[in-house]
């Protein structure tokens, strides 16, 4: 009997010590993890806008996060946009509620700081306080609006959609007219050498510059990528002879209305990305336009 007691005590003690060690490690690394994630996002966003170490971002560049939620009130559904506003001289957040057809319902003040707004649990807490039960919220998506001074520079949309294997997660950059500025592949589980080629410039950069009208009907075509177009797409990192300004313009004009050339051996992955980009752009443009309409008509003092 004493044996079993001793064994149990020893085991419990070891478990507790182990749990404390792990708990400590968790707490210490959790902060570093968030910080690194934030840095990675910043880097990707700046990269998409064309800024890098060689071309640093201007000092008047600001990012504003707009978060979309679906509010359920019994059987009825509403759209709620958390928008950054100016209140009392400093940056704060407000919730703009619309019905499913885009008609204004109400605005509510939220008490959440811009830093905390980047954290999903914090946002949901603030929403719960403002809406109160029995209303429930479901997260929709995030839009980051890049602004320089008074003018909107770009919309940055993180999004995910099914790929050949599991999910592909991307960040899409659109200019204010919803033309594609660029595309970055954030996460995927595709096969190396095949689906993983979506990370390569010769695929990603094909989306650059496609106008809104073209993107609405974009599809993939199973033809080999022309050599000249490939060189053009990879020109920022290749060491080969640079193109002249005229050559660049000419190639751009030839290919800007064409469909996306699929990656050899990875048609499904290519189609997933192209369908994903198409759907994201269509839905975002529809929603952004209705949000802008409501904000303008209601005179909400948004920061973007």
């Amino acid at each position: 009997m004493k044996e079993i007691l001793r064994i149990t005590i020893a085991l419990t003690l070891s478990c507790l010590i182990a749990a404390t060690v792990m708990g400590l490690a968790f707490v210490v690394t959790a902060k570093a993890k968030k910080h690194n994630e934030h840095l990675y996002m910043q880097e990707t966003m700046l990269g998409l806008l064309g800024y890098s170490k060689a071309r640093p971002a201007p000092s008047d560049l600001r990012f504003y996060g707009v978060y979309r939620y679906v509010i359920a009130d019994g059987d009825r559904r509403f759209l709620g946009y958390m928008v950054p506003v100016k209140r009392g001289g400093e940056q704060n957040y407000a919730l703009v509620v619309m019905d499913l057809k885009g008609r204004f319902v109400e605005t509510m003040d939220l008490s959440i700081s811009p830093e905390a707004a980047g954290d999903a649990p914090e946002r949901e807490k603030a929403l719960r306080v403002a809406l109160g039960p029995p209303k429930a919220v479901t997260y929709g998506d995030t839009t980051i609006i890049a602004k320089r001074g008074e003018r909107r520079l770009a919309y940055l949309l993180p999004g995910a959609f099914p790929g050949f294997k599991t999910f592909i997660s991307i960040m899409l950059a659109l200019d204010p007219s919803f033309k594609v500025l660029g595309l970055e592949i954030m996460e995927h589980e595709e096969d190396p050498g095949l689906g993983a080629e979506i990370e390569e410039e010769y695929f990603k950069h094909q989306f650059k510059g496609k106008t809104f009208e073209r993107i609405k009907t974009i599809d993939v075509v199973r033809k080999p990528l022309p050599e000249q177009y490939k060189k053009y797409l990879e020109r920022s990192t290749s060491q080969e002879g640079a193109f002249t300004e005229e050559e660049i313009e000419e190639i751009k004009r030839t290919y800007e209305d064409k469909d996306i050339y699929a990656i050899t051996g990875a048609t499904i992955s290519s189609k997933s990305v192209s369908d994903g980009v198409r759907n994201m752009t269509k839905r975002f443009s529809y929603r952004m336009e209705s949000l802008d309409r409501v904000i303008a008509s209601q005179g909400v003092e948004v920061l973007f």
Binding site: L11, A18, V21, A25, T29, A32, N36, P192
Partner: protein, 207 residues
């Protein structure tokens, strides 16, 4: 026991060569096959295993007198699991992109028989310093094996080493595909066997 009279240096080198976990002892082969696709992967997983091996060996050597014999194995498992969790959290926080490439394999270190075996056979019977060198040798042996595999597969598969384009083209994409892992490990094992056979033959002739 012969182990006790080995010097620290011998312990260290035996872990890398004679008793190399992957090529000689044929243990912990899952990651060898699964993610030895690049040198970087091999390096990172090697570091993770090294960390777990060294810390676990030292911990067990420290508390070996307090472990009740009947709960030896659970204690080893608990120690290993704790250190695996720690290195898992650390890697996820500080090198997230590379961590994702390794997927589930960092967490799986907890199931490596080699580490438990090492603790049972060595760390529970020896001093902290001796355990440290033994663990270090074993861990480095693993890292060396993984990096060699990674080097072969990355070079032949993608033409790069550590991401730097060396060949300028891709010889055989096949090598990066996971199934090639089996082939490469099998061939390297055969090579080690061959070296051993020739070495023994030479020894016999000398005699």
């Amino acid at each position: 026991m012969a182990a006790r009279t080995k010097t620290n240096k011998e312990l260290f080198f035996s872990g890398i060569l004679n008793e190399n976990p992957i090529f000689r002892l044929a243990l912990s082969m899952c990651p060898a096959v699964g993610i030895s696709t690049t040198v970087m992967n091999g390096l990172l997983l090697g570091i993770a295993v090294l960390f777990v091996q060294v810390f676990s060996s030292c911990t067990i050597a420290l508390i070996k007198d307090y472990i009740h014999p009947r709960i030896r194995i659970p204690t080893y498992t608990l120690t290993i699991a704790t250190w695996v969790t720690v290195i898992d959290l650390v890697l996820a926080a500080y090198v997230p992109v590379a961590y994702k490439a390794m997927g589930i394999f960092v967490k799986l270190i907890v199931a490596f028989a080699i580490i438990t075996m090492r603790l049972e056979m060595f760390a529970s019977k020896n001093s902290v310093t001796a355990s440290f060198w033994d663990g270090l040798g074993m861990g480095l042996g693993f890292m060396f094996a993984m990096m060699t595999l990674g080097f072969v597969r990355e070079l032949l598969g993608m033409g790069t080493v550590l991401g730097y384009d060396v060949l300028g083209f891709r010889p055989l994409l096949f090598f990066v595909l996971p199934s090639a892992g089996f082939f490469v490990v099998g061939l390297m094992m055969a090579m080690f066997n061959y070296i051993e056979i020739v070495y023994n033959r030479r020894k016999k002739v000398k005699r």
